[in-house]
Amino acid sequence: MEFFNELTQTILNGVAIGCIYGMVALGFVLIYKSTEVINFAQGELLMLGAFISYSLITQLHLSYWTALVITILAMGIVGAILERVVLRSLVGEPTYAIVIVTIGISYFIRSVVSMVPGWGTDTYGFRTPFTDKFLRWGDVVISYEYLSIVVLAFVLIAVVFVFFGYSRMGTAMRATSQNQLAAVYMGISVTRVFSLTWTIAAALGGIGGILLAPITFVHMNMGFIGLKAVPAAVLGGFTSPPGAIVGGLIIGITESLAGVYLEEGWKDIAAWIILIAVLIIRPQGLFGIQEKKKV
């Protein structure tokens, strides 16, 4: 019984962390799906969101829910500005150029955050409505913070899934990702698609940040979780929003299990071992579409 409780607890923790990975991965997937680019600054957007919500809650004394809404809006604006100022002029450039630019953006955001008065390089925390509340089920304990992550992640994935599958703009995004020129001929405004994609992806990063903040605390290097989300996105197939969450869950649970039952060190590389195995065996991921090359 002891063993089963420990196992359940470990898996539940893994699920919560996995949902965070999944949410960051969702940001990757959104941008990859419509612009064929991996945004290596996604983790930094999450960090920026966490810092904004931290300032709103502890310094302006706003309520958690107001802060959540303002953070989402603010991050959306950040995303739109990034797209307008930097990425729009790179449409049609080779992929590596855009990847390097997103890496440059991540450097920039990280160091600018460290320079903002009141943020800096220290670690912060804040209280949320979920802090110190637990759900007990025998010996297994789930904190409300974890629960909030799981619930919100699944709500978001449903929204994104429906948006992509059934809305006009979602269809336009899918069309743009397949063939930009054909999309233009069909009357789709490619620039608007890109702009909206970045806005949504940055807003998702903001939500991830505010959810993650109570668990890992707010600090400058929070953004490195973005790297952990890459295996999640690959595992899911990089083009599939539900795949991102499933990938995140698998990575989160594996990591959590490796942390408890394997020797020290395995936890940090478990995700990467899975990643390489997936890339060797099934490069298109669990939910991805098989790549076919045409001459």
Binding site: I38, A97, F108, R110, Q178, V230, W272, I273, I276, E291
Partner: protein
């Protein structure tokens, strides 16, 4: 204006295009030999780092710039080179053997991890190499009997035939010599059938395969050669900084290496050198320009990475061909002086088709 009359095929693959080019390179090398006379120890040490990063940059350039395969895990090969050389010289193996050995070890590891992942393309390959680098880094941390784990290990100064490279000047000459050898090797690889196959793969994998190029074989060769040069750079790096631990070789360093070749200019050996000059002298430039900035900005520790990030973005926005591209344009301007047309290098915007369908 200068005209070049080509009469046979071999003129296309000559080591130096014009006879005067050879003269200018020779002058540059001789000029470099006199640098220690005019520069202080600190600047010399920075020049040494430029040489070391340029060696690593040439390695990555062969892979990314000429074969078109992006690697985001080259710091791992740097680490393998460093550790091989450090362990071997600590066991009494002469440096002259340890240097190539570190390259060979890196190349062997490159073949082992390259073989299964090289069928991937573009971003997937970049991600796979990143994952491989994380795993190698963790192995270096855990394999304590050899690498001493997180404690790190001390590295001796290199000794060749009893001659100790223990001063900045001597080490500068050593790394300059290695850089020149590596550049010549790379240049010769590139004009051989192997190198031309690399370039064919970069330009179009399908066309290259149709021409009878064995894709897996040549991609692995490119990966191995690239790892070899980066391993050599790693060996020099270890002997330069005297103390190595796994934390010196992170994903950040891999990204910096990639930034070096891309900012320098993909697809040219010059680019690797320009990129590392840019990368090493940028912090110097920032330190110098600090005096002219308002005081609350001056003391920020984040200033340097912020400017680094900003410059990467600006270079990519305004000069995607990198510093080498800018150099080409300047040269072109003077070569064609009265006839220069501004739009000669104008970029054509393309709408993209997905790689996946």
């Amino acid at each position: 204006m200068r005209f070049l009359m080509k009469t046979d095929y071999y003129q296309d693959i000559r080591l130096f295009k014009y006879r005067s080019t050879f003269f200018w390179y020779l002058a540059l090398v001789v000029g470099c030999l006199f640098l220690p006379k005019i520069l202080d120890e600190y600047m010399l040490s920075q020049l040494t780092f430029i040489c070391i990063y340029a060696v690593a940059g040439v390695g990555l350039m062969l892979l990314t710039g000429f074969t078109g395969q992006i690697s985001m895990g080259h710091a791992a090969f740097l680490a393998i080179g460093s550790y091989t050389s450090a362990v071997l010289t600590a066991k009494g193996v002469p440096f002259l053997l340890a240097l190539p050995a570190s390259g060979v070890t890196a190349a062997l590891v490159g073949i082992v991890i390259g073989r299964p992942i090289l069928h991937l393309t573009g971003l997937y390959l970049a991600i796979a190499t990143m994952g491989a680098a994380f795993i190698i880094e963790e192995i270096l941390v855990r394999w304590e009997s050899i690498t001493n784990g997180n404690m790190g290990m001390m590295v001796d100064t290199p000794v060749i035939f009893g001659f100790n490279f223990d001063t900045e000047i001597r080490f500068f000459y050593l790394s300059l010599a290695v850089l020149i050898i590596v550049l010549l090797l790379a240049k010769n690889i590139l004009r051989s059938p192997t190198g031309r196959a690399f370039i064919a793969i970069r330009d179009s994998e399908i066309a290259a395969e149709a021409m009878g190029i064995n894709l897996p074989s040549f991609k692995t060769q490119s990966f191995a050669v690239s790892a070899f040069f980066t391993g050599i750079a790693g060996s020099l790096y270890a002997h330069k900084i005297f103390f190595i631990n796994p934390e010196s070789y992170t994903i950040m360093q891999s990204i910096e290496l990639l930034a070096i070749v891309i900012i320098g200019g993909l697809g040219s050996l010059h680019g690797a050198v320009y990129g590392s000059i840019f990368f090493i002298f940028l912090p110097q430039l920032i330190i110098i320009s600090k005096d002219y900035l308002p005081s609350f900005v001056q003391d920020q520790t984040g200033l340097q990475p912020a400017l680094f990030g900003l410059l990467i973005i600006l270079v990519m926005l305004f000069e995607p061909m990198g510093i080498y591209g800018r150099w080409l344009k300047t040269k072109f301007y003077f070569e064609w002086f009265p006839l220069y047309k501004k739009d000669s290098f104008k970029r054509e915007k393309k709408y993209q088709k997905a790689e996946r369908h």
